[in-house]
Symmetry: C2
Subunit: 294 residues, 2 copies
């Protein structure tokens, strides 16, 4: 990993977290709800989605302030989805990144409401963003809702739950991941390019780049569940095999999964070159995603 | 009840339901999620919030098409809140309006996701509404998020849950209702006036009208739990007394609650007159709310 990309990620993380810390200040939120929201917003997230948004935007513009609220909204939607996914009725997880999940730290009702609040508030943040024109706000809200809603992330979660009780093909697996994690990654890349005023042609290629990036993210997740270090991951490994979950290694074998990742990488790089954006942090982030160990 | 207001309500209900029926058509939503969303959207709702929005808008404009998508978004947010409120971790209700609640008809995971989907989709609908300018979309999304989120309806739900285990004063009770049900009613009235291009002064008075209307709605709800007809209500009565819930009759006695409702009515009518809007369906809807038997 080059020093430059590490610095970019570290700097991006700081920028996002500073913004997150101030965003809820002065808001009139009941204490218990506020605590529950804050707890999950600062539970050690890697901020990968907002960092991708920054990287995509910075490929075309240096006025970073313009995308900060959108980045925050994106991180809030990601956080809401984790809180709801962890609920007893869904994945029933007690820990995430080594810390108690929201419903275990607080209670189920509070966790459901904290998720609802984060989801709702994310749209308010964009609608109130002074850095954007009304046209830009509308575009961002429409895209963000579309990738998160019943045709996006929520659809992915339903299909994922249904997939747990039956075997799925590689194509079905790609579809679930595209909806469940890929769509938010796509939003990060495309919204960044749009706000940075990339050409329509560039946005088209970056959309393709984002598609493969999302798949790489997921393959690596599945690979880490086989060969990852539980210490670094902050969670036990091997649960996918045990649960006979549809994963890349379970479907293709470990070497097959690695080969598949390589294919996705080549496609992603091709799209990045077509967008004339391969001389940016996006290329390094692609490698970072692909090689991450946690 | 005059024939005219009955007709207005009946017509409004039809308009909303026709719009609801077409809105999800052609959407690429997984079947189980689609069924769950549809089930709750068509579970016999009275459509009071969208009807209030129509009435407020029609006080100033007859181009009803302009507010239809906003009305749908409002009804979707109301529906999501009912689905989540009914969950085992919240009110744990098996029936609503005589039909199984969403999580009893489907399952808990599906109900949580159906709520999430409706909430998210409501913002997409407004962002995509061709009848509105980008400025109007931004205003509607910002207001709708604000009344529904951590400073609005979600805050009301948290406080309501907390209030179940302690006694609250009349002022605290008013606050909970203002947040939990009042804010969406306020949105209906104020957004209708804004889109109908009422003056800022008129919007200010209607905001006050909406505040009292919301309280009247709640007092009557509480009164019906004491003297209502279970057949008409589609649910048993008397549960508030049994659960020692903080309600108007429990705090003020039945006659006291009725007197309080009368006070709210007088204030509401004063505001309606100040807004020069007392020659509209809003006055009749106020009486309808105040006297409803279900």
């Amino acid at each position: 990993m080059s020093k430059s990309i590490d610095q970019f990620i570290e700097q991006g993380k700081k920028t996002i977290e500073t913004e997150l810390e101030t965003i809820l200040e002065g808001k009139n939120i009941p204490k218990n709800l506020y605590d529950s929201i804050s707890y999950s917003l600062f539970a050690g997230g890697k901020r990968l989605r907002p960092i991708l948004l920054l990287a995509s935007f910075n490929t075309f513009s240096s006025h970073t302030k313009k995308v900060l609220k959108t980045a925050i909204a994106l991180e809030m939607i990601h956080t809401y989805s984790l809180i709801h996914d962890d609920l007893p009725a869904m994945d029933d997880d007690d820990y995430r990144r080594g810390k108690l999940t929201n419903h275990r730290k607080f209670d189920e009702a509070t966790a459901i409401l904290a998720g609802d609040a984060l989801l709702t508030y994310s749209f308010e943040i964009v609608a109130e963003d002074d850095e954007l024109t009304d046209k830009e706000k509308t575009y961002i809200i429409q895209s963000l809702a579309k990738v998160s809603g019943p045709e996006g992330m929520v659809a992915g979660q339903i299909l994922d739950i249904e997939g747990e009780t039956k075997s799925v093909s590689l194509t079905e697996l790609e579809k679930i991941h595209e909806l469940k994690t890929g769509k938010l990654i796509m939003f990060a890349i495309v919204a960044g390019a749009y706000l940075g005023e990339a050409s329509t042609e560039q946005q088209k290629h970056l959309r393709k780049f984002a598609y493969y990036l999302g798949l790489i993210f997921q393959v690596q997740d599945d690979i880490l569940d086989v060969i990852g270090d539980p210490e670094k991951l902050g969670k036990p490994v091997g649960s996918d095999i045990e649960n006979e979950k549809s994963t890349y290694p379970n479907l293709l074998g470990l070497d097959g999964a690695k080969a598949q990742k390589k294919k996705y990488e080549e496609e992603a790089i091709k799209s990045l070159q077509a967008a004339n954006a391969d001389d940016s942090h996006l290329l390094e982030l692609l490698r970072y995603f692909s090689q991450r160990d946690h």
